[in-house]
Amino acid sequence: MVNEKLYAGAHAPFWHNGSSIRAKSYNVIMAALPAALMGIYLYGVPALRVLALAVSSAMIWEWLVNRVMRKPTTIGDCNAAVIGLLLGMLFPATMPWYAVILGTLLAIVVGKQIYGGIGCNPFNPTLVAYAMLLLSWKGLLDFDAMLVNYDFGVNMVYPIGALKHFGPEVIEEYRLTDLFMGRQAGAIGATFGLGLIIGGLYLIIRGYIRWEIAVSFLAGVFVTALLFNAANPAKYGGPVFHLLSGYTLIGAFFLVTEDSSSPVNFVPMLIYGAGAGFLTVLIRNVGFFVDGVVFAILMMNLTNPLLDKIRPKALGRRIDYA
C-alpha cells in the first residue's frame, strides 16, 4: 500500500476551455490601448503619468486590501489594473497625483473590495470612484479648466459641455471627423472614437464583452438623442454628436459592459444597455451634469438583479399557476 501510486482526485469535467480572468483582463487592457496611446500622443507625458499612476496605485491598493483583509492575493488576475487603467482614461491629463491615487483607492476599496472582491460589486468600481470624485472635486473633472494649456488647433472647449451651455449652434464649430479622430478636448482615453471602436469590436469578436449591451447602449443614445433633436433642434444636439463626444464610446465598450454589474440574459442585456443609453442623453439634455454616462450606468447597475429575473424557462421547469 505504501508504494502504491496515488492518483489525483477531481470532479468532472476534466477539461477546461483554457479561459481565465487574467486572459480576459489582458484582452481588455489590450483593447483599451489604442485609445490610451492616442491620449498619451495628444497630451504627452502628463497623460502617461496619470495612466501609469492609476494602474500602479490600483494594483497596490488591491494588494494592500488583500493583506489587510487576510485574503488570497488577487492582484494576479489583473482586474485591478483594468479598473485603474479605465479610471485613468476618464481623467484629464492634468489630474493631480493625489486625486488619481484617491480615485483608485475609492474604486478598489469602496467600489470592489468591501463587497467581497471581484464579481461581488453591484456597481462598476471605476464609475463609483469617478462619481465620488466628481461630486467632491467638480473642478478637477472640468475639462475646460484643466486643459486650458492645450491647443490642438481646434475648438478646445469640451464639446459636450459646450453643447450643454451654449446650445446646438456651437456644434457647428466641431467637425465630426475631428471628434472621431480624437482631435477634441476631453479625457485621456475617451476622445479617440476610432480607437475605442476598434478596441470594442475586438472585445466583442473575442466574446469578452457582450455585443447586446454595447450595441443597445449606443442605440439607446442614438435614438433618444434623435428624438430630442427632432422635437426641438434649436435646443438639443444631434445624435451623431452625442455618440462621438463625452464618454459615450468608452462607456459603450468598456464601462457599461462590466461583468459583475451587468445582466447576462439576452432581453435583460438589451433593456439594460438601452436604458443606460436613454438615461445618458436624458441627463445630458435635461439633467444637471454635463455628461450623463457615469450616472446613467450607475443607475442601470442598480436594476441589474431585477432585470436578470427576465429569463427563459429552464428545461422541464414546472410552472405553477396559483
Binding site: E4, K5, L6, Y7, A8, G9, A10, H11, A12, P13, F14, W15, H16, N17, G18, S19, S20, I21, A23, K24, P72, T74, D77, G116, G117, I118, G119, C120, I204, I205, R206, G207, R210, W211, D259, S260, S261, S262, P263, V264, N265, D308, R311, P312, K313, A314, L315, G316, R317, R318
Partner: protein, 426 residues
C-alpha cells in the same frame, strides 16, 4: 482538450473532435489474477445471504444480495471470494465490494442456460439486470410498457468510441438484442442512433436508424428527448416516465448474445483515452482492475496523474489502479497531472458564459451563488437545480474556474438527503 475559440460571439460549438486511434483492432485484456465487483447494498445485508469469504463462485453464477429477485449480480469470473468490504459510492450510495482471487480457467455456471423454460421477463430480471454497457438495465424494465427505446450507437461524451465500435463490429448481435427487446416491450418503436457515415450500413438491417452528427451535449438523454421527440422532461423526472427508454448499443448486443450463446455476457468493451488523446478500444472482463489495462497497453503513469472512469466531461476520477472495470465503464481516461484543468475558489464574476452554454437554460450565475452558500432548497425552487442535465459545460467554460458542476452535484445530493430526512421524520 478543446480550447476556447478565438472568435466567440455566440456560444461555443462543441463538435465532437475527430477520433485518433492508436491501433484499429480491439485489444483483448488478459484475465486478471484478482478482480473486484461493486454491488449495491450494504455489507450487513450481504452476510445474511450466504455470500462468504473463501467461497468459490463460477463464471456467470448469480450472487444476488437480497436473496432472489431484485439484484442480479453475476460473478464475471471463476474465483474464490477473498474479501468483502463496504464502500461509499459517488452520490453517497452504500456499495459492497467483493474481491475475487481469479482462477485461470473459466468454469461456467449452468443456471442461466438451464433456465430456458422460465418466462422471458423473469429470466432477464433474474440474470441480465446488469448488462455490460448498462448496469441498471433492470430499472428500465420497471417502466414497462415503453413507447420508444432509443439505442445509442454513438457515445455521449467526447473521445469515447465504445458504442460506435459495437455498431461496427457487432451489428448482428444488436439485431438479436432488438428482437429480445421487442419480445419484452411489445411493439414499441426502436430507434438506433449512429454517427453519420454509418447510417447506410445500419439501415440495411431494417431497423429505424437515425444518423446524427451532433455537438455536445445533444446526446444526453434529456436533451435528446427534446431534439428527437420535442418533449421536455419535467425537472426531477426521468425520460422513462414519458415513455422513452434509453439503452446503449453494447447492452443491446450483449442481450442478444446472452440468448444466442446461452451465456451471461461478462465482457466490457471500453475506450482507453491516453494522455496524448489517442485512443485504443479494449475488451476486458468485468471486474478487471484498471492496472491490468495500463500494463497491457504499456501506459506509464505516476502519482498525481488522473485516472478517470468515463469521458472528459462526465467521467468519475478514481485514486487507485485497483478500481475495477464495471458494467457501465465506457472509457478509461488517463490524464497527465501537470496539464490537468485546475479549479479555483474565485467568486462568480457574472460573465454569463455558463448561462449561454447551458442546454437546460438554467440561470447558472445565480444558481452557483446559492449553492456556494448551501441554500439547496432555494437552488431547487428558484434556480432550477433539478433541470440540470449534468453535462458539465458550465465548469468547462467558467472563466473564474469555479467547479460549478461539482457544486451542482453536491446540491442534488444534499437536496435529496434533505427530502429523505423530511420524509422519514414527517
Amino acid at each position: 482538450m478543446i480550447n476556447r475559440s478565438f472568435f466567440s460571439l455566440t456560444k461555443p460549438n462543441m463538435a465532437y473532435p475527430a477520433l485518433k486511434f492508436d491501433r484499429e483492432d480491439v485489444v483483448e485484456i488478459p484475465l486478471p489474477s484478482k478482480a473486484q465487483l461493486y454491488v449495491n447494498g450494504s455489507y450487513a445485508a450481504a452476510e445474511g445471504n450466504g455470500f462468504r469469504v473463501g467461497e468459490r463462485v463460477k463464471t456467470g453464477q448469480r450472487i444476488g444480495l437480497s436473496g432472489g429477485g431484485g439484484e442480479s449480480i453475476v460473478s464475471p469470473v471463476t474465483a474464490s471470494i477473498s474479501e468483502i468490504s463496504s464502500f461509499t459510492g459517488y452520490m453517497g450510495q452504500t456499495l459492497t465490494v467483493v474481491a475475487f482471487d481469479v482462477e485461470n480457467k473459466d468454469v461456467w455456471d449452468d443456471e442461466f442456460s438451464a433456465s430456458k423454460e422460465m418466462p422471458l421477463l423473469k429470466r432477464i430480471e433474474r440474470f441480465l439486470g446488469c448488462l455490460p454497457g448498462q448496469a441498471d438495465f433492470s430499472s428500465l424494465l420497471g417502466f414497462l410498457p415503453l413507447e420508444t427505446i432509443v439505442i445509442y450507437g454513438i457515445d455521449k461524451d467526447f473521445l469515447i468510441s465504445t458504442n460506435r465500435c459495437v455498431v461496427q463490429t457487432r451489428l448482428e448481435d444488436i439485431l438479436q438484442g432488438i428482437e429480445v427487446l421487442k419480445k419484452i416491450f411489445g411493439e414499441c418503436r426502436m430507434i438506433l442512433l449512429v454517427p453519420s457515415g454509418y447510417g447506410l450500413q445500419a439501415e440495411r438491417t431494417g431497423v429505424e436508424v437515425r444518423a446524427l452528427n451532433p455537438a455536445y451535449p445533444e446526446l444526453l438523454p434529456k436533451v435528446l428527448m427534446h431534439r428527437l421527440f420535442g418533449k421536455e422532461v419535467p425537472a426531477g423526472s426521468r425520460c422513462e416516465e414519458l415513455g422513452v427508454g434509453f439503452m446503449s448499443a453494447e447492452a443491446a448486443a450483449n442481450l442478444g448474445t446472452a440468448f444466442t450463446g446461452s451465456r451471461i455476457p461478462v465482457h466490457k468493451m471500453l475506450t482507453v483515452i491516453k494522455k496524448d488523446g489517442s485512443l485504443v478500444n479494449v475488451r476486458a472482463r468485468i471486474g478487471t482492475p484498471v492496472r491490468e489495462i495500463l500494463n497491457t497497453l504499456k501506459i506509464e503513469t505516476r502519482s498525481g496523474d488522473r485516472l478517470v472512469l468515463g469521458g472528459p466531461m462526465t467521467g468519475l476520477s478514481v485514486y487507485s489502479e485497483e478500481t475495477p472495470v464495471l458494467a457501465d465503464t465506457d472509457a478509461l481516461m488517463i490524464q497527465d497531472g501537470r496539464g490537468a484543468a485546475r479549479f479555483s475558489d474565485t467568486h462568480c464574476v457574472n460573465c454569463g458564459e455558463c448561462v449561454r452554454v447551458c442546454p437546460a437554460r438554467i440561470p447558472v450565475n445565480m444558481l452557483i451563488r446559492v449553492l456556494e452558500n448551501g441554500m439547496y432548497e432555494e437552488a431547487v425552487e428558484t434556480y432550477d437545480l433539478l433541470s440540470c442535465v449534468e453535462c458539465g459545460l458550465c465548469s468547462f467554460v467558467c472563466i473564474a474556474r469555479i467547479p460549478i458542476f461539482h457544486y451542482v452535484m453536491l446540491g442534488k445530493y444534499e437536496y435529496d438527503r434533505m427530502k429523505t430526512a423530511e420524509g422519514s421524520n414527517g
